[in-house]
Symmetry: C2
Subunit: 406 residues, 2 copies
């Protein structure tokens, strides 16, 4: 008898009907003979509604209170799923993050899991119960409720799977798996049967929101296989795991893209030590994530510094950067909000040359101008105009023959 951790997102538990469906799925899986721990997110728009309510009573709700407030969304969903399972005749119990033994640091709204004490879960499992755990939350040593921030429920599921030494973590969501590219952009995109942690991490960080990178990273660290599948279809989904099938296969696995990109260029900066720090430290303090950074080779000790941020953070970033640019004697500070990112991803590329060249020439043949380039061992990313992202993804999907069975 193995142990399976499942995770259902907010749309899977959006209303009573959806919850009853999820309950039936869980029971069907349980009846195959495995023990089950199930992590659920808050129902539908609950979290947004609670945030709205908080902002109606306070312009700046404190993070500790906001965490206590938001954690109720997952508590509600988890108790309802447990009730639905019981009403169908199976044994189930809901546990809050605290009851599931999820101990975190005290960084409210973005807490990290420090340790999981699985003894209560084990006890309930041994009594034959299906254990439903409220995702996204934990408890500090001081008994305060924390939330885990972005990707919190995915992270809860993987962390529980690791702590319980589960056979796999199954994530049910509104997509059917991981694709060679976004099927909305590329009609011939193909669903992948499996993918490695490293590839998924790049895909997650560079486009697809299917599994949060934080959860993928944790899964890789503890070697927890994640199955991504739809809660509404019979599709087998995509398995994220360590060993990708050894058969000869396409070295490029997926084309990822992201439309939410803005660029800031600090032009004509006197090139002296400490300049980069003087710009990026204040941005970090303002809580702005900087993605790609490019510094041109210095000519006559004058350089240009270019970087990208999420589009929603452009205004905030410009307010931080403009006065600094002035104070360090830069000529000007310009921004472009209408950019996108396209990435070619595959572990097979790392020891094989020529992928970057093929990517650049494909884009150039389509008349697509590359504004910035950034790479990792298993990824090549180009920043291009937003309006050209669709074309670029389709062209690259074709170039790397991703429509063919790998």
């Amino acid at each position: 008898m193995a142990l399976i951790v499942q995770k259902y997102g907010g749309t899977s538990v959006a209303d009573a009907e959806a919850i009853k469906n999820v309950a039936r799925r869980i029971i069907a899986r349980r009846n195959k003979g495995d023990q089950m721990v199930v992590v659920v997110s808050a129902m539908g728009d609950t979290t947004d509604d609670l945030i709205k309510l908080a902002h109606q009573v306070s312009e700046k709700p404190g993070e500790r209170e906001l965490d206590a407030l938001l954690s109720t969304g997952e508590l509600v969903a988890s108790t309802l799923v447990a009730m639905a399972i019981r009403s169908l005749g199976s044994e189930a119990i809901s546990l809050s993050g605290a009851q599931a033994g999820i101990r975190t640091d005290a960084n409210h709204s973005r807490a990290r899991i420090l340790e999981i004490d699985p003894s209560r879960m084990r006890r309930e499992l041994e009594e034959g119960k299906i254990v439903i755990v409220a995702g996204f939350q934990g408890i500090t040593d001081g008994l305060d409720i924390t939330t885990l921030g972005r990707g919190g429920s995915d992270t809860t599921a993987v962390a529980l799977a690791a702590s319980l030494k589960a056979k796999a973590c199954e994530k049910y969501t509104d997509v059917e798996g991981i694709y060679t590219a976004d099927p909305r952009l590329v009609p011939e995109a193909r669903q992948l049967r499996d993918i490695s942690y490293e590839e998924m991490l790049e895909i997650a960080a560079y486009g697809s929101k299917v599994v949060h990178p934080r959860a993928v990273e944790l899964a890789g660290e503890f070697d927890v296989p994640i199955l991504v599948a739809s809660s509404f279809a019979g599709n087998p989904g995509t398995l994220i795991h360590r060993e990708v099938s050894m058969e000869v296969r396409n070295r490029v696995r997926s084309i990822a893209h992201d439309l939410d990109v803005a660029k800031i260029m600090v032009v004509g900066v006197p090139d002296r030590p400490g300049i980069a720090a003087s710009i990026f430290e204040p941005l970090a303090k303002a809580g702005i994530s900087v993605d790609t950074i490019v510094q041109n080779a210095s000519i006559n000790k004058i350089t240009d510094l270019t970087f990208t941020v999420a589009r929603s953070e452009l205004d905030k970033a410009m307010k931080v950067v403009e006065p600094i640019a002035k104070s360090i004697g830069a000529r000007e500070c310009v921004s472009d909000a209408k950019l996108g990112k396209v990435s070619v991803i595959g572990t097979g590329m790392q020891n094989s040359p020529g992928y970057a060249a093929r990517m650049f020439s494909t884009l150039s043949e389509r008349g697509i101008n590359i504004q910035l380039i950034t790479t990792s061992e298993i990824r090549i990313t180009c920043i291009i105009e937003e309006s050209q992202v669709g074309n670029a993804v389709r062209a690259l999907h074709q170039t790397f023959q991703l429509d063919a069975e790998s």
Copy 2:
């Protein structure tokens, strides 16, 4: 510096505006120099909405899960009140029942408080914070969430006041205090400045829903004065406490009434030992509260047994009683659903004769037939036809001169 426990009900925190008003009231009170612990109920209809949701996924939601679900209503309200206070510039922190140290037994949906560990509350108070506690809930030794059942938030407030040795417990609600009779029935009814625990207990049990009897009982036991007042008005309210002013005062304090009364008569019962038990034990097991019980003097070893139940439980009670009546050889079993109760209440009555006689003659002069009579040391109650309750209350209010300043 004294410590005050306040309690706000669901209508006082029904929406963001109401919550901001409550926050302002709490701060104004705090600024008078007292330390503050505030217990809040769930917003408006939240609890009913959650129960509905539970019944949509399960015909019979388990009590443990239902408790975990319902407890979120008070968590939401308490965090929002804390946020609202902080946004107005005062320090506040919300605590769940568990964080407030409220340990209960494991009787889900009707848990009893076993013990309160006030150390966390004390620490937060010493740091100058206003402490907002989610009412209606506690935690078992096994770390499961419980709810306290009917009157739960009132009970939380009084229990916290007792445990913190607070100067008083102030209950804010949608009425302005305790009256000599229901002002909707008796326009000249007068608000009482104060009332004793015993009198309030009789009023609470025999009509008014202003403070739950369970909370009044606890308050009397630990000598916690309760101030009942409206959260929307400047009215000073009514103080429930041990020492009612020693000045000469009216010995009848209040006329209480209740319209939710049904009567069951088991007619022609052979009078032998064990007959009463054979009827009332099965009723208790079925969870039906029996109120007044009257057994007529036995004539030729045949007697009648009459008792009242809440109208909503009449059908259920008849289903229990009818087969028993048959089996013990009773002649028949009849019921009347359209009854009401009217009570004259006052500690001053206990050593003074004549009150019962004055009550009965007042009713008789109005042509009101008394069906059953029941008394305690400080209360005389008559069961009459429902349609005559208004008349009876007005007449008794006049007879005992409750419109005059006491």
